[in-house]
Symmetry: C2
C-alpha cells in the first residue's frame, strides 16, 4: 500500500461523506465518526433517504442506543416517535440485490476465485467489497460497514435507524438488510463503547445512550479532511490483496494461502498521508 | 440451542479455566474475564506453561497493554523485565499444528464441506473450531480465541504474554501463533476498552494500562460458576450449525446457505441456565 502510485488513489467526494459528531467523551474529548456512502448502483433508495435526513438535521439530538458485543452499534431515535422528514422513499426488498449488468466481468477483475461460504463469487468494485450470485450483486457485511435497521418487513427500513458492524463479519445479514456505507474514520468511538445490558445489546437506561450532536453531509460540515481509497482495479490493490493472503513479513512462517473478503479491507486514508 | 437435551451439554472442568480479575472500572464495578484452556492434544506445551504462570501468581500486578481496534487485546508484563518462574518449556513452531491421528474422520463429523478460504477442511472437535490440511490439524483464530504473543522467532512465546481476538477473525495468524484457549465470559471488559494510540494499539501512557489484580486456575479462584458447552458431535450442535447457515426466524428473507466457521461460535453457558 505504501508503494502504491499517487494515481492509484481515488478521491472520495465530500458529498459522499456523512460526518457524525457525538457528544464529547468523559474526558471532554471530541468524537467524530466519518462514514462514506455507497455509490450507485447499490442501495441508492436508502442512500437518497439518508441524504434527506442529514439535510433536515434529523439525527441532531438522537443517540447511540445499542452496542452488542461482536455484532453491531446502532443509532437513531430512541423514542421511535420522532417525525421523519417528508419525501422519504419506501424501498423494497428487491433493492438489496443489484441485477448483474453487462460489464460484470470487470467487476471481479481483481477477485481471485478464493472460496467463500456465502456466495458463488466475490470481489471488489469501485472500492467496495461485493458478492455475486445468479440473481445479481450485493455489498457484504464486513467490519465497519453501515446498514439500515428495520422491522420484520424488509421494506420497513427508511435509513433513519443505522448500525455499523463491530465484530466478526455477520454475512448472514447480506441480502437481508441494506448496506449503505462504511465507517472510514473514528469507528473506535463506537466499537469501544460499553456494551448494552438489555436484549440485543440495547442500553437499558437513558443516561447510557451516547448523544449525537449532529450528522451532516461532508460539504456541509466543518473541518472535514479529504479522503481517498486505493483503486480496487489497480495493480497496487492486486498486490495488496495478495499480500493479505500471503503475508511476507518476517513474523509469518506459514502463509495462509487465502483470505476471506472481509480480511482484505480496502485501504482508505486522509489524502496525501 | 434452547431445545438441546441436557445430556448434550458437557461440563468444563474448573481446572481447565483461567480466571482473570481486572481492576474495577471507573464506576467501581468489578471486571472478571473467564478463559477456557485448550484441551489435549492442542498447544499443550504452552497451556502447561500457562498453568505454571497462574500457579506462581505471575500475572498479578501486570496489565492490559494493547488494544488494537478490529484486532486484539493483549496483556502481560509491560516492562518485559519481570522474571519468569522456573520450569517453563520452550515450545517449538511445529507444535502449532497437531499431526492427523487415526480417528480423524470423527473430528469433522459435523463439518459440512462448506468452503473455507484458509484450509482444506474445517469443523469442530470436543467443542473447538479446527482447520485441517495435509500436515495436520490446528485451532483457528475466531473472535474471543486466546493466543500466545511472541517475538519474531516462532519459539519465543512462553505463554506469559497473551492476547484475545476482538474483531474479524484474523485467520492469517493460524499456524503462526499458538492458540491456547478462548474467552467464555466477560470479553466485553476487554473489547470495550479504549483503543491504544501507539503503534499496533499499544497504550502510550502507563495510566492507560488496565491493572490485572490476579489470574488463577478455576479451582483456586473464588465464586467461579460452573460452565458447560454444547457437544459438537451432538445432533443438537448439527441443528444449531445448520440454523446459523440458514436463519429461519421471521427477520430473514434470504438464507445465506452457508456460514464460515467463526460465524458458528460453540454455545457455552453457565451450567443449567
Amino acid at each position: 500500500v505504501a508503494a502504491a502510485k499517487a494515481e492509484d488513489w481515488v478521491a472520495i467526494a465530500p458529498s459522499d461523506i456523512l460526518v457524525m459528531d457525538l457528544a464529547p467523551d468523559s474526558n471532554g474529548k471530541s468524537r467524530r465518526v466519518i462514514i462514506q456512502l455507497m455509490p450507485a448502483p447499490f442501495s441508492q433508495g436508502w442512500v437518497s433517504n439518508i441524504r434527506k435526513l442529514a439535510a433536515a438535521h434529523w439525527w441532531d439530538g438522537t443517540s447511540i442506543n445499542r452496542v452488542q458485543d461482536n455484532y453491531v452499534v446502532q443509532w437513531g431515535d430512541a423514542t421511535e416517535k420522532k417525525a421523519l422528514p417528508n419525501g422519504l422513499a419506501v424501498v423494497e426488498a428487491k433493492e438489496y440485490v443489484t441485477p448483474n449488468w453487462p460489464h460484470k466481468n470487470r467487476i471481479f477483475a481483481r477477485a481471485d476465485g478464493r472460496p467463500d461460504a456465502y456466495a458463488g463469487a466475490h470481489g471488489f468494485y469501485v472500492g467496495w467489497p461485493l458478492a455475486q450470485g445468479r440473481e445479481g450483486l450485493w455489498p457484504v457485511h464486513c467490519y465497519g460497514m453501515v446498514g439500515v435497521g428495520r422491522n420484520l418487513s424488509p421494506d420497513t427500513g427508511t435509513g433513519s435507524e443505522l448500525y455499523t458492524v463491530i465484530g466478526h463479519a455477520p454475512r448472514h445479514l447480506d441480502r437481508n438488510i441494506a448496506l449503505v456505507g462504511r465507517v472510514i474514520e473514528g469507528i473506535e468511538h463506537m466499537s469501544s463503547l460499553p456494551r448494552g445490558t438489555g436484549a440485543l445489546g440495547f442500553y437499558e437506561k437513558e443516561e447510557e445512550r451516547v448523544p449525537i450532536l449532529s450528522v451532516r453531509i461532508g460539504n456541509e460540515a466543518k473541518d472535514v479532511p479529504a479522503f481517498e481509497y486505493l483503486a480496487t482495479d489497480s495493480d497496487s490493490f492486486a498486490a495488496y490483496a495478495d499480500a493479505r493472503a500471503n503475508r511476507r513479513d518476517a513474523f509469518f512462517n506459514v502463509p495462509a494461502g487465502g483470505a476471506d473478503i472481509c480480511n482484505i479491507p480496502v485501504p482508505i486514508r486522509r489524502k496525501g498521508t
